[in-house]
Symmetry: C2
Subunit: 153 residues, 2 copies
């Protein structure tokens, strides 16, 4: 497979570097692995704030999945040290879980507000942010923050 690139030493065509491309795919795959944990702890934190407790049925309703799906995921989050549960009582966040929830919520808000700031309708911003948030690096997040902040003047 011969490459068909113009050689321009002055302007290294980074947009087509295969190694970088591979890194990008790997980063996206990696992000997919932490997505669910982030959404869960953020949601559990929300539910506790809203109503003092986070029950499986409520988590399932919000996520739009079945209750046994939530039950299994919670078991895993307990193993990962993010969640505690008292059987047949609601679930709670560990310190580590609260930290992750906090970070996730902040990132989520920054992404959502940024989308609104560039002119995306609020409902759409909310929908898109739910997926985008997991693929935004610190650098991109910083750029989002800068823009939204500047916009506010």
């Amino acid at each position: 497979m011969k490459k068909n690139v113009a050689i321009r030493p002055q302007e290294p065509d980074l947009s087509n570097d295969p190694a970088l491309r591979t890194e990008a795919f790997q980063q996206a795959r990696e992000a997919r692995r932490s997505e669910l944990a982030e959404d869960y702890v953020e949601l559990i934190d929300d539910l506790i704030r809203e109503g003092g407790e986070a029950r499986q049925v409520d988590i399932a309703a919000r996520l739009g999945v079945a209750q046994p799906t939530v039950a299994r995921m919670l078991r895993k989050l307990v193993e990962e040290g993010l969640v505690q549960r008292k059987a047949y009582r609601g679930v709670f966040l560990t310190d580590s879980g609260r930290e992750l929830a906090q970070a996730s919520r902040e990132r989520h808000e920054i992404v959502e507000q940024f989308l609104v700031a560039i002119g995306v309708p609020p409902e759409t911003a909310q929908r898109d942010a739910e997926g985008i948030e997991h693929h935004v690096s610190e650098e991109t997040l910083a750029a989002f923050r800068r823009f939204t902040e500047a916009q506010r003047r």
Copy 2:
């Protein structure tokens, strides 16, 4: 579970509507299901442009996965009518596959260029775009396009 929301008829707090939240989660889950197919056809199209053919080993190397993983996914893409293969020759895109590749590439470029436009370093933009692209609605894409375009003056 009682809700703890301030009632403000003038300003419906849409940012906290549970039904919308659920839709957002569903949209993100849905997006995850089409991600791989999009990346595959886009990549196959790239490889064919670069070198006239797309072989499993090259696809695997670019994606950073093992060859049997690619073999199985290609079988699935054939079932979905996006890809054709001649055994032990490379793989090719069907008309439908080419369409999806085209759309995916355009979206990918818009996202990446937009990130650069708001000040994200190009390498980071490339990495983040690989994941973000799959979660961007038409409306958000339009906003990205507008901004990048305006920036170019």
